[in-house]
Symmetry: C2
């Protein structure tokens, strides 16, 4: 048999996270939820995803504790999908993906597909990934990795090139 390899047991938070959301449809559903979409039909209308796959992904997201099902009416019983606290924390991941696409895929001279506005400061904005300690932007050359369980991750400095 050939089940998709589980990444949950690797000693790496990136791998463990990807075990839950390492799938394009899953992330696009999350994007939709961040855009305010909640219902099966809204996702189905918004994304060119097969309905059976959508069912699978929504169930997996609920099982992962990223979305939760909330009834919005009885008779007929209907649910919508909302973010849990953990799901809300994925916002940064989605924004980081959007930022990369804006920089590296959107053709030069063209506007990005959408613009984000930060209501707190009022500016058009985009995500930046910074050091939680000093607030500087994190670059590969400046970050070292210290493994906490020995063997699996090399203690080498990150890429200088």
């Amino acid at each position: 048999m050939t089940t998709r390899t589980s990444l949950a047991d690797l000693p790496c938070s990136v791998a463990r996270t990807l075990d839950l959301i390492g799938d394009a449809w899953t992330v696009l559903i999350l994007r939709d939820v961040f855009y305010g979409r909640r219902r099966f039909s809204e996702f189905a209308d918004s994304l060119p995803i097969a309905r059976n796959v959508l069912t699978h992904r929504l169930n997996a997201l609920v099982a992962a504790g990223i979305l939760r099902k909330v009834a919005y009416q009885e008779r007929p019983l209907r649910h919508e999908y909302r973010l849990t606290d953990a799901g809300r924390d994925l916002f940064g991941v989605v924004l980081a993906l959007a930022r990369w696409g804006d920089q590296h895929i959107t053709p030069a001279g063209q506007p990005a597909p959408v613009t984000f506005v930060h209501a707190v400061c009022g500016h058009d904005t985009h995500a930046e990934v910074v050091c939680a300690a000093c607030g500087e932007r994190l670059e590969p050359r400046d970050v070292r990795v210290r493994p906490n369980f020995g063997q699996d991750v090399p203690a080498v400095a990150l890429a200088q090139d």
Copy 2:
């Protein structure tokens, strides 16, 4: 036929980015490159990925302009895979994934699999996703979306719940 749906044509930078790296193995290869790994055999040893799939993913990353192949010896000709500028800019995405896993998957009380150290400030650190304009952490409730091409993306405020 049933080819995997292309996301490249959707009017969304998240979708377009996922069209290139919306696959768990792809992202784990990038993680490896950020950790300093460069060669086919290093990836193959580090990840439980099938070798044919590894070949596919590396070729796709090169085609996407995220990695480039550099010969490190002739006779026999051997290449290594290095980051392009675009690839280097994916560092933030990987760090954001690691951060989420550290917060939401690593069992409470246990240390994260790896700790990142920011050489610039000298502190143990983790990624934070902030507003490029004001430096505040970006939360779903504070961000509005303005579509630049009409129809496809709703102008609604992002999730309040």
